[in-house]
């Protein structure tokens, strides 16, 4: 049991940070099952990040006056209980409230686990493991959520967290001696936390928008989307060996990471087609950038700063407020662009149907079925296959109709891709602003 204590705490850290984006691929299912609106369902994501971002620092201040083991165990227990509550939530309002409670427990658990992991593994290894668990959780969250949603259901995302977190509660209580916390000696590290916030906003574009594009825009299943976005965590793992090989300074490493994330997001903005293949290389750039920046910046923000928990609180706050800011900036942009994309997409569809090598009566039949489908699915990307299946076509015309269906799907994919372009480019812009915060000259201290 003793050996499992610190790993269980590390898993808890990964779970809490994975929750930041774990529901991304499940949002369409949640929307349908809980009869919610798009605006309401977005709050399942926003509420968790907002509460975690806003509560991290007050929680860390409170931690100074608490019993570390009790504080951490309570935090993990609240997180576990709220995860179970999320799984049984019968309405969108209950789910959002449960997510807020889950984030509150998560904030307590994150801050507490850091001190307990340092107590178990020592300063250097404990902090490094806490940071790495956070990076792994952040990167793997959407993948795990997508696979669980596809394989079982969206509720499974929350159910699987409960046993891990439940095991971590006795693990937290089993930590033997937690060193007395040192007094407040350092100010928060503004620059790395600001860079973290900007990068988190940019990464929201990569992780949140990309899965939306894959599932809603290109019509792929959540499992396919999850496997596709797994490129990001895999590439993030490759970042450390690359950095060890070339041995750059920490500032260069972070600056290059920002540049790679910006480049990857520009690549995602300009795929040549809706083939998943075209997202792999840009995602690899984003993953490399993620691997070079997040742990390095977190370490910079906390390095030699005491009390450790409070500075950890600042980094958690910066990251999750960054995610919320990213969502706040990007959501209205891509929803407006999706709205604007409807007209050119409909015109492109009308153009292809008019010029299709089909008999006039078949064109009319297809046009009528497409019209019904567009009317039924107003506000969402329509399922053209249903329209073709519903159209009363001459069997001899089926091959030409199938080709028309493929061409029309390509038009919808093109329209969706075009609609996401601005948001990916804004994400790239946020990463470049983060780069500026790294390379901007520092103020010289008066000697």
């Amino acid at each position: 049991m003793r050996r499992a204590v610190a790993p269980l705490l590390a898993v808890t850290v990964a779970l809490v940070l994975a929750d930041s984006a774990v529901v991304t691929l499940a949002l369409p299912d949640i929307l349908a099952e809980l009869d919610a609106t798009v605006g309401q369902v977005a709050w399942v994501l926003i509420s968790f990040n907002l509460v975690l971002g806003l509560c991290a620092v007050p929680t860390a201040i409170w931690f100074d006056r608490a019993q570390p083991r009790i504080f951490t165990a309570v935090g993990i227990a609240v997180f576990a209980g709220a995860s179970a509550w999320c799984a049984v939530a019968g309405s969108i309002d209950v789910l959002v409230v449960a997510r807020c409670v889950q984030a509150l427990g998560g904030a307590l658990a994150l801050v507490g686990c850091l001190e307990l992991m340092v107590a178990e593994w020592g300063e250097r290894r404990g902090v490094a493991a806490w940071v790495t668990a956070g990076v792994v959780g952040t990167a793997v969250g959407p993948v795990a959520g997508g696979l669980l949603t596809q394989a079982i259901s969206w509720e499974a995302i929350f159910v699987v967290q409960v046993p891990f977190a439940a095991l971590a509660v006795p693990a937290a209580l089993a930590v033997r001696a937690v060193p007395v916390l040192p007094p407040d000696r350092h100010r928060p590290a503004v620059r790395p936390n600001l860079t973290l916030a900007l990068l988190s906003a940019a990464l929201t574009a990569a992780l949140f928008l990309l899965v939306l594009l894959l599932v809603e825009g290109w019509g792929r299943s959540p499992a396919t989307a999850a496997l596709t976005v797994s490129v990001v965590p895999v590439a993030a793992l490759a970042a450390r060996p690359l950095a060890r090989l070339l041995r750059p300074s920490p500032e260069v490493e972070v600056a290059v990471g920002c540049f790679l994330i910006a480049g990857g997001l520009v690549g995602l903005a300009i795929p040549p087609s809706a083939e998943l293949f075209w997202t792999v290389a840009p995602q690899a750039l984003v993953g490399l950038g993620l691997g070079l920046t997040i742990d390095r910046l977190t370490a910079q923000a906390m390095e030699l700063r005491l009390p450790r928990a409070r500075h950890a609180g600042w980094t958690i706050g910066a990251r999750h407020v960054g995610v919320v800011v990213g969502l706040a900036i990007l959501t209205p942009v891509f929803t407006a662009d999706l709205q604007d994309a409807q007209e050119p997409a409909q015109e492109a569809i009308a153009s292809l149907v008019l010029d299709a090598p089909l008999r006039a009566e078949d064109k009319i039949s297809i046009a009528r079925a497409l019209g019904d489908e567009l009317t039924q699915q107003r506000g969402q990307i329509p399922d053209l296959h249903r329209a073709f299946a519903a159209a009363n076509l001459d069997p001899a015309e089926r091959p030409a109709a199938a080709e028309l269906e493929r061409d029309l799907d390509a038009q919808l994919e093109g329209a969706a891709t075009r609609a996401f372009r601005d948001s990916f480019l804004i994400g790239a812009g946020l990463a470049l602003v983060a780069l500026l915060t790294v390379i901007a000259p520092r103020r010289r201290r008066a000697s």
Binding site: V256, L260, I270, E347, S351, L354, R359, G414, R418
Partner: protein
């Protein structure tokens, strides 16, 4: 030297990776993957049809007519089609533009020699016409030259377009039976008018 390599190594690798990825995306059409842009309706485009006879002719006329109407209204033909198909009310300007567009489409097809002679359409027209069987047989027995001399396709079509209540036709787009009845009535009336005009001119 080694220090400089360490300072520049990672940025150089990153620059090469980002440039390479973006260059490959752009070289394969990245940035241009978006919906088809609609063509200028004022530029003549070739119209074809997989259908034969009256259906094929009607399709070519409608496609050309919609282009002409859209050009007059300064919108794309696709925007006009969607507007006519989705809106419950049609403006006077739309109906007028459609009328003029269809009429000028007939004249264009006549000018480029792609309007079939009336004799080529008679059999098909009689099949669906509500006429006495003896009368149908008598008309079918007429030599093509007599039919073509008596009826000019462009004249019948222009009269049909003039006779059609386009607003009612557009309102019945979802009801093929009502639509066919309206068109049939207009064509029959147009043939009668064309024939009586021809007889009047002979006298």
């Amino acid at each position: 030297m080694s220090g400089r390599l360490h300072a520049l190594g990672l940025p150089a690798v990153a620059l090469a990776l980002v440039s390479g990825v973006l260059a490959v995306q752009l070289a394969n059409g990245g940035g241009t993957f978006e919906p088809l842009r609609t063509a200028d309706p004022c530029t003549t485009r070739a119209v074809t049809s997989r259908s034969d006879g009256i259906e094929g002719l009607t399709e070519r006329l409608v496609l050309r007519g919609i282009d002409e109407a859209a050009c007059r209204l300064h919108v794309s033909r696709e925007a006009l089609i969607l507007e006519l198909g989705q809106s419950d009310t049609r403006t006077d300007a739309e109906v007028e533009a459609l009328h003029r567009g269809l009429s000028s489409a007939v004249r264009e097809l006549e000018a480029d020699g792609s309007l079939p002679p009336a004799s080529a359409l008679v059999d098909e027209a009689l099949d669906s016409a509500d006429l006495n069987g003896f009368l149908k047989a008598a008309i079918r027995a007429l030599p093509d030259s007599v039919v073509d001399a008596a009826l000019k396709t462009d004249d019948v079509l222009i009269r049909t377009i003039d006779d059609l209540d386009l607003r009612a036709v557009l309102a019945d787009l979802d009801s093929p039976q009502d639509l066919n009845a309206q068109v049939e009535e207009a064509v029959t009336q147009a043939v009668k008018d064309s024939l009586s005009d021809r007889v009047r001119n002979l006298l």
